[in-house]
Structures are given as C-alpha cells and as structure tokens.
C-alpha cells in the first residue's frame, strides 16, 4: 500500500501523481512519453496527433473537464496523419474513441487520476452508456460488484484505484448495474445460476462466479455492517449505501437474481 497520504474527498493532483510514481506506473515510459503524460495530467496539454498511450487516458487524466472540452477532444480524435504526411479526417475514428472511452470509464473508478465522481458521471452522460461494448456487460457488472464490496471494506479494485475514499463511483451506478443483471441471460434453478445462452459472455462457467460474487456481497449485507477501521473520512455514505441495498433486496427493487441469492444466503445462515 502506498505511503502517500491521499485526501479521501479532494485528492490533490500532486499527491495522485506522486502515488503513481511510487507505484512505478511510468516504468515503461521514455523521457518524451513521461513528459507528455505529465503535461496531460497537470495542464491538460496534448499534442495535435497524440499516440495511443495518450488517447487511452486523455479524457480521464486531464484537469480540463466539461462538455466543451470533451467535444473538442472527440473532434480532434477524428484526424490523423497518414503515411504520406497528409491530414485525414475519418468520422468513425470518433465513434471508436467514444466506445473505447466508455468501456474504460465503466471498468475503473477514475478518482485515482483526479477525476471526481461528479465528473465521471457527467462524462458518462455525455458519451452515453449506449456506446458501451455490449459484450462487456458482464464485466461492467462484475466491476460494479467488486467496487461496491471493496469500497465497503475500505479497499479498492486492483492496484491503481484508490482505497478508503469517501465515496465510490459504483454507488451512483446502481440503476445501471441492476439493469445489466436484469438483462443477463441467467436463471436460478435448484439454487444454482444457469446460463440460458450457451455462448453468452454471462455463461461458460461465468454464471458460477457471478453467483459467488453476489453471495459474497449478500453475506456482507446480512451481517451488522461494521465500517473498516482507520478510514479518514465520514462513514455515513457507506452506512447509507448498505441500508439502501438491503432495502432494495427486501422490497423487491433489486434484480430478481440478486434477490434469489439474498434469500438463499439468508436461509443458509439460519441453518
């Protein structure tokens, strides 16, 4: 775990950059690449025809946020220089860029690079969830589940996301996550998830994992919630979120599959 203190509500860009440095996240960077990433991170500056290592994080690492900026970035991504040095503009490049960005947006809590939750949700609205990769719906849902569970434990997904933050982007994507699970081609049969479509990304053994993850969250929700010790922020959002999920499960607001796992976990606990 990083020794650098990160403010759980408003982390400074300096502390976030220092943390990334400490984690050796720039070990692959040549001098010019490191400079370009720094310029993006601190000043929002990007060359006219940036390489992929910049465009991959361009919308997320920049201190410049907001619809005007995003529009300009997307416009810029339509253009490239061909092998003869001629400037070309291709509309579909913007669509590809949006699709890739939405995919990344939904697979990570970008507070680690200085993007507030409000900014992430605004970008999500601007780009549109319909631009996501539909083949990744299970991954988005699993990401949501992992973000929720680990945030409740004071931890974070993977190495790069920030542990112990005041809030987590997943708590604002409940309706989206419920929608994904409601649409999943899965059913509960004799206490087990069964995939209805053989080659669906939700099947091929993944249905067992999904049931395992939902059971894990259900177990946390069934116990008296004890917020993790040592967090340097108000714990109210965590307590309220646990109460919200419990209420959704008890009142039938949560997806049917989640309710079924919840009931099963409750019954097992009674035995």
């Amino acid at each position: 775990m990083s020794a650098i203190a990160i403010d759980p509500i408003n982390p400074s860009r300096e502390s976030l950059w220092a943390r990334l440095e400490e984690m050796n996240r720039f070990s692959w960077c040549r001098k010019h690449e490191y400079k370009q990433l720094r310029a993006l991170f601190f000043d929002g500056e990007v060359a006219e025809y940036p390489k992929e290592f910049i465009t991959d994080v361009e919308l997320f690492w920049s201190p410049k946020q907001g619809t005007e900026h995003w529009q300009a970035v997307i416009e810029g991504r339509k253009a490239y220089i061909d092998y003869e040095g001629k400037r070309c503009v291709v509309e579909s490049r913007a669509e590809d860029f949006i699709k890739k960005s939405v995919d990344f947006l939904l697979q990570c809590d970008h507070q680690y690079s200085g993007m507030s939750i409000e900014q992430q949700l605004a970008l999500q609205d601007y780009l549109g969830l319909e631009c996501r990769n539909l083949r990744h719906d299970r991954i988005y849902f699993e990401t949501w589940l992992a973000q929720v569970e680990l945030w409740l434990k004071g931890e974070a997904v993977g190495e790069v996301e920030l542990p112990g933050m005041y809030d987590c982007v997943a708590t604002h994507r409940v309706a989206f996550a419920y929608g994904l699970l409601n649409a999943a081609p899965l059913v509960m049969r004799e206490g087990r998830f069964v995939a209805l479509e053989r080659d669906s990304p939700w099947g091929r053994g993944r249905e067992k994992d999904m049931q395992f993850f939902l059971t894990s969250l259900s177990k946390i929700l069934l116990k008296k919630y004890r917020p993790p010790k040592g967090l340097k922020c108000d714990l109210t959002p965590r307590i309220q979120f646990v109460e919200r999920l419990r209420a959704d499960l008890e009142t039938g607001q949560a997806p049917l599959l989640f309710q079924q796992v919840w009931q099963l976990t409750k019954e097992k606990k009674k035995k």
């Binding site: 050796n24 720039f26 070990s27 692959w28 960077c29 040549r30 001098k31 690449e33 490191y34 400079k35």
Partner: protein
Amino acid sequence: MSTEYAISLQLACGSNEAASALAFFQQVLARRPLFELEETFERHWPVAEAAFSALLDSYAPLFRTLEAVVPTPQHFTLHWQGYGQGELFLDEMIALTSAMGLQVLEGRAQGDEEVYVCELIDGQLDCGYYDLE
C-alpha cells in the same frame, strides 16, 4: 516467432567510465523507469545519447530483461534473458558500451540452435556463430 536468448556482455573495469557504467546498469537491474535511465545516461554519456535512444527504440523490452550484473576486480558481466533478436541486440550493446568508453572483452548471445560469440583477439572484436552441441 522470436527466440529466447541468454545474452552476456563482459566489460573491462579499467576505464574511468566503468564505475559510472556499473552504477547505471545496477539502475537498469533495479527496473528503474526508462525515462530515469535516459536522464542518467544523458548526464554521463552525452555523446552516446543518440545511440542509447536508438537502442531503446528497437530493443527496450530485451534491454529491460537484464537479470544480473556480476562484478569482479578486473571486469563486470551483464546477463540478459529474454525474447527478441539476440545477436542484433548484442551488436547494438557492444556499439553502445564502446561509445560509453568501455572496453568490451566478450559477448555471447545464445539462442535455441546457435551461439553468437564476440571475442577480443589481438585488440579487435571477432564475432561469429557456433552450433550448439
């Protein structure tokens, strides 16, 4: 498909540059970021900066597989183990370390069928392929 190579390069310790070079390769071994390595290199060997940049352009992944730096009083040996074009990488490393003011004593790049050996004979490096027994 690229082949896995075991590459070694033996350099003499006699020159003024040897201590700085040893410290530099220890930095590589410690997996310091490439931009830091470039900065160190520029400070100590500005005349060879372009050669180092060209080496990283083509062989950065193999260069970063440095797995041992073995010093003795007379020389030190660098050992790499990784995938790529081992002989070409060795040639580039020989050119680079020579530009750094170091004397190359021996270099070897062993693939799955042959070993490419560069030896110092009468003050000149003589390179050639040998079949593996």
